[in-house]
Amino acid sequence: ELKVEQNPLFLSMQEGKNYTIYCNYSTTSDRLYWYRQDPGKSLESLFVLLSNGAVKQEGRLMASLDTKARLSTLHITAAVHDLSATYFCAVDLGSSNTGKLIFGQGTTLQVKP
């Protein structure tokens, strides 16, 4: 059974600090997605990581994928309040083209001034 685990589940940080969210998964997959969810809103796609060593960056967020370690990271640089949200990673099972994903529990990020 595929399991996707995020760490930490809750993160409170000061503006200007750096931090990393970790996403571990338990079986082989070459496709990993990161999503953001604002309170009361739906999920918005942030990054798609399609191969080992893939790195994507958007503003203060950078995501990477290590398929051998079955690990993805979402790194936050110099956090600002607008980044406060819940972040989900999701792994594609890859056994068909259905796009079926397994989601992690989510990491709630709170950035304090």
Binding site: L43, E44, V48, N97, T98, G99, L101, I102, F103, Q105
Partner: protein, 111 residues
């Protein structure tokens, strides 16, 4: 821009009722999904569909069924609603391996 529209933002129903949640997407996506979201549990897949009239069970299908008669519409049915089905329900669609696009969600309360 892809639009995934869920028929209701908030819904209140009674135990034992048959409940229909509707989802429509406007981008001709093959794949459609229904999730429920509960605090601390992330998103759990209920059912998904990869083509018209095709469906597969997700991780928590018990107590639910689905219908996909047209490509753009995917319906989730609670056959006999129970209080443990109170949750946020999210619909999504995707084209093969492209990121899933989500609707705004339906917050369903079963009394």
């Amino acid at each position: 821009d892809v639009k995934v529209t869920q028929s209701s933002r908030y819904l209140v129903k009674r135990t034992g009722e048959k409940v229909f949640l509707e989802c429509v997407q406007d981008m001709d996506h093959e794949n459609m999904f229904w999730y429920r979201q509960d605090p601390g549990l992330g998103l759990r897949l209920i059912y998904f569909s990869y083509d018209v009239k095709m469906k597969e069970k997700g991780d928590i299908p018990e107590g639910y069924s689905v219908s996909r008669e047209k490509k753009e519409r995917f319906s989730l049915i609670l056959e006999s609603a129970s209080t443990n089905q109170t949750s946020m329900y999210l619909c999504a669609s995707s084209l093969y391996y492209q990121p899933q696009h989500f609707g705004d969600g339906t917050r369903l309360s079963i009394l």
